[in-house]
């Protein structure tokens, strides 16, 4: 177990190193990406541009620049952006609570609704409820998420904003939980819904299929034969097992959301979290924050995948006994 864990951690580090090299190379072949020009402003003298190249080390060989950047990112921890020369790490630190507020809240919603609907769907297998839920599930994953966010924002905070049911929904932005818990929740309401809708249906499907699989397993039949009440069988035996694939998937998805999907959602709602920072940096071809954010995103993807694998080992009764 420990060896497995160490091996996975070493793999994580190797992947992150490779990604950092990739990002660095990609951004150094982009012609519009010459940061010296951007730093020079709109009335630069030629001398000025040369000087900036020198002062920022852009005239150094690429590998020196790479190690320099890694040094500022991990050791000195004082990396600054080319775009507005603000420190990168504090900006990411400020963004993390916002992004996690978004992702955790949405995850709670999609898990609760996904599991409830999935169980209902599985219990009523083949009936109209099940069929409707199947279509709804597939419809959910088929919506472009940014489009859903944009249309909801338009409908609820503009078009029908005067309706009392919607008038409490703010037109975007973020309020810290510590400052105003109610404001925090109202500001995050639409982003949560948007992010959750795309996943609820999918999780409902997974839970349903998994439930159907496990219902026919031996130990469930044994439990039934022992005379346990149906609801007890469902909760104690069937649910527990059928949630295993859900947990694995959740690990992957949560990593993917925090490390990627937020790029599409945060800018629409002006949440100014890590995703919006990433979207802005990539639009500005601003390498320092982009480097930090890609590594951050990749870390989440890989880390949660690892967590999911380990949880799987721990949860699955079959893999535990062997």
């Amino acid at each position: 177990m420990v060896r497995l864990l160490l091996g996975r951690l070493a793999g994580l580090v190797a992947v992150l190193v490779a990604i950092s090299v990739m990002v660095f190379v990609i951004f150094n072949v982009i012609p519009g990406g010459d940061p010296a020009l951007r730093l020079a402003g709109r009335h630069p003298t030629q001398q000025n541009i040369r000087q900036i190249r020198h002062d920022w080390g852009f005239d150094q060989p690429l590998y020196t620049q790479y190690f320099d950047m890694m040094n500022h990112l991990f050791i000195e921890r004082d990396l600054i952006s080319y775009q507005d020369q603000t420190p990168v790490l504090p900006a990411i630190r400020r963004g993390i609570p916002r992004t996690l507020s978004l992702a955790i809240g949405a995850a709670l919603i999609w898990m609760i609704f996904g599991i409830t609907i999935g169980v209902l769907s599985g219990l009523y297998q083949g009936r109209w409820l099940d069929r409707v839920l199947t279509v709804v599930a597939l419809a959910g994953v088929s919506i472009p998420i940014f489009w859903l966010g944009a249309v909801l924002l338009y409908l609820l905070t503009y078009k029908y904003h005067s309706w009392p049911v919607f008038s409490w929904i703010p037109p975007g932005g973020y309020v810290p939980f510590t400052q105003d818990p109610a404001g925090w929740a109202t500001h995050l309401f639409l982003p949560w819904i948007t992010l959750a809708v795309v996943s609820i249906g999918f999780y409902a499907r997974v839970v349903r299929n998994s439930l159907l699989d496990t219902r026919h397993q031996d130990y469930v039949r044994t439990a039934k034969a022992k005379g346990l009440s149906p609801s007890r069988v469902l909760v104690r035996h069937t649910l527990r097992t059928c949630l295993i694939p859900v947990v694995t998937l959740f690990g992957l998805d949560f990593g993917a959301v925090v490390g990627g999907t937020v790029i599409l959602i945060e800018p629409i709602f002006g949440l100014e979290g890590v995703g919006q920072y990433a979207q802005e940096s990539v639009a500005h071809l601003d390498l320092p924050p982009l480097m930090a954010l890609t590594l951050y995103g990749a870390f989440f993807v890989v880390f949660f995948n690892m967590l999911a694998d380990l949880t799987y080992l721990w949860l699955d009764p079959r893999s535990r006994t062997t």
Partner: protein, 548 residues
């Protein structure tokens, strides 16, 4: 200088300069009634971080709007809107400079008793100004171009040692003297930009935006906190005592700037009463409704802007004069203004109408598609492949697509390429990027024809990187006339040359297809009054006041 953000913040723009002073009209509309009231905190919003809060480095509207309220230079543009705002008046200097030596020497007397705020807390000295201008070179400021005409600046730019010999500061006599290599009619304008604002000696040679102890103020306000991507807090500067009516006390007790507000969100929040003022203009599509609903809260701000398509004379097929003329005939300027939500005036001039006698309207290219087609035929370039470049800040993509559509109609084969605005300007200013034709605009850095004709068309300035002569226009005879005009004192004689060159370039070269002088309408809360739009510093916080 511009920072426009698309609804979405998908397009946060870069810093382009255009400190337009002396713009045409300004703050009108509005229910400014009664005397200004003191007190209250302005709730302001901004889409992204301002580029810098360091006067040496900031080169955007956002930065200058804030720095105008916190820091001062020897001279200032009059804190007024419209043409009056184009006048340079004394600020920390006690009077306008004495100019001698045939326009090559400027002597300023520094007013005693102007204080730097805590923790520096001392009087501003002439040597602080010398220090501040030298610091520009040491921090790689984008504004150094304005000061390279000072004797010794060239050498200092390379060595960064021993100071600039052409700036002589005498702290005892409280004088500072600038020696120029040649007469320069717009030197006073350069001295009034934030680049030349006073910072105390000892300010570190790095961006002070996020170093609170070095964000030292001289003006009515100071920045008490700046948290990038979150907020900027501005409060009264307790050490400030107004020394001239041109640098008055502010009415507001402070300004709380929330960072990360999208333009659409700002409109909704202002309507909901959660926000008073926003750095950007109204999204073009919202304007009609806002004007109808809140006529007293919408202000039409105009500055000296020219919005145009540039054609690269070094690139086929635009190396042919007929093709460039054809483009000028083929675009319907009224249609383009519609794309901008009607927020502009069609024009064929290079120089905007706000520049007094330097503007002389001409109408060389009335909309004529048939003529354009015929010129393309005549040039023998039918079917030539053309890529139209533009940035992605709305509504530019529509304008670029309009042009591509028109080019296809007159017999070329056009596609479109767009970049994020923050990258776009650098890319087109590099010969390596080398677009054939594209969108651009220019907002004045200072209110003078030179900033348009010399900056964008004088072939002597063509460089490989950071090139402002996007068309690569280089007509030696015209270059010479530009250089002559630059040495002349400001005034009608000089303006007449700019007006003539405007006409000649459009008639004989036609590398520009100018189409519009753009406007930037603003929408503010009903409690906010005293809006003044200065062409150089933009909106003036010290003039604003809030009512209940």
């Amino acid at each position: 200088m511009r920072r426009v953000t698309g609804f979405l913040a998908l397009a946060t723009a870069t810093a382009l300069l255009a400190a337009g002073c002396g713009s045409g009209t300004s703050a009108s509309g509005s229910g400014d009634t009664g005397a200004p009231v003191n007190g209250g905190i302005l709730r302001a919003g901004i889409p992204g971080n301002p580029d810098h809060l360091d006067p040496a480095l900031s080169y955007t509207n956002e930065g200058w709007e804030i720095l105008e309220a916190t820091n001062n230079g020897l001279l200032t543009f009059k804190k007024a809107s419209g043409g009056a705002g184009a006048t340079v008046v004394p600020d920390i200097a006690s009077a306008m400079p004495t100019v001698t030596d045939g326009g090559k020497t400027y002597i300023f007397h520094v007013r005693p008793g102007v204080m730097f705020s805590a923790p520096v807390s001392r009087e501003v000295k002439p040597s602080d100004f010398k220090f501040s201008i030298e610091r520009l070179f040491r921090v790689d400021s984008g504004g150094v171009g304005f000061y390279t005409g000072i004797v010794g600046a060239d050498i200092y730019a390379k060595t960064r040692k021993g100071g600039i010999s052409g700036i002589v500061a005498n702290d005892k006599a409280m004088t500072i003297t600038f020696h120029l290599t040649q007469p320069d009619g717009t030197f006073n304008d350069y001295i009034a930009t934030p680049f030349a604002f006073a910072l105390p000696k000892g300010t570190p040679d790095k961006d002070i935006s996020t170093i609170p102890e070095w964000r030292v103020a001289t003006g009515p306000y100071r920045i008490t906190s700046y948290v990038p991507h979150q907020s900027i807090t501005i409060r009264r500067n307790p050490t400030f005592k107004s020394w001239t009516p041109d640098t008055p006390d502010g009415h507001l007790d402070g300004i709380d700037v929330k960072i990360g507000v999208t333009p659409e969100q700002s409109v909704n929040e202002i309507a909901d009463g959660q926000l008073d003022w926003y750095f950007e203009s109204v999204p073009p599509d919202r304007l009609t409704q806002l004007k109808a609903q809140y006529p007293k809260q919408v202000y039409p701000f105009v500055r000296n802007n020219i919005t145009y398509f540039f054609m690269n004379e070094r690139k086929y097929p635009f190396n042919k004069l007929d093709v460039r003329k054809a483009v000028n005939y083929a675009i319907d300027r009224n249609a383009l203004v519609k794309i901008y939500g009607g927020q502009g005036t069609p024009t064929e001039n290079i120089i905007p109408p706000g520049l007094g006698t330097a503007y002389k309207k001409h109408n060389l290219y009335p909309y004529n598609l048939a003529k354009a087609k015929q010129l393309i035929q005549q040039a023998g370039v039918g079917g030539a492949a053309v890529t139209v470049w533009g940035h992605n800040t709305d509504p530019t993509p529509s304008a670029v697509q309009y042009l591509a559509g028109v080019l296809n109609q007159i017999g070329l084969k056009a596609t479109v390429k767009t970049f994020d605005e923050s990258v776009y300007w650098d890319t087109i200013a590099t010969q390596k990027g080398d677009p054939q034709i594209g969108f651009t605009d220019w907002n004045q850095d200072y209110p003078e024809g030179q900033d348009f004709i010399d900056v964008a068309l004088n072939g002597e300035h063509i460089v490989n990187v950071g090139n402002n002569d996007l068309t690569n226009t280089n007509i030696p005879a015209y270059n010479k006339r530009i250089d002559q005009a630059k040495r002349m004192p400001l005034g009608d004689a000089r303006n007449a040359i700019w007006a003539k060159l405007d006409y000649l370039y459009m008639k004989n070269d036609a590398a520009w297809a100018p189409f519009m002088n753009r406007q930037w309408p603003k929408y503010v809360s009903p409690h906010l009054h005293g809006l003044v739009f200065n062409g150089n510093y933009f909106e003036l916080f010290p003039s604003m006041y809030l009512t209940q």
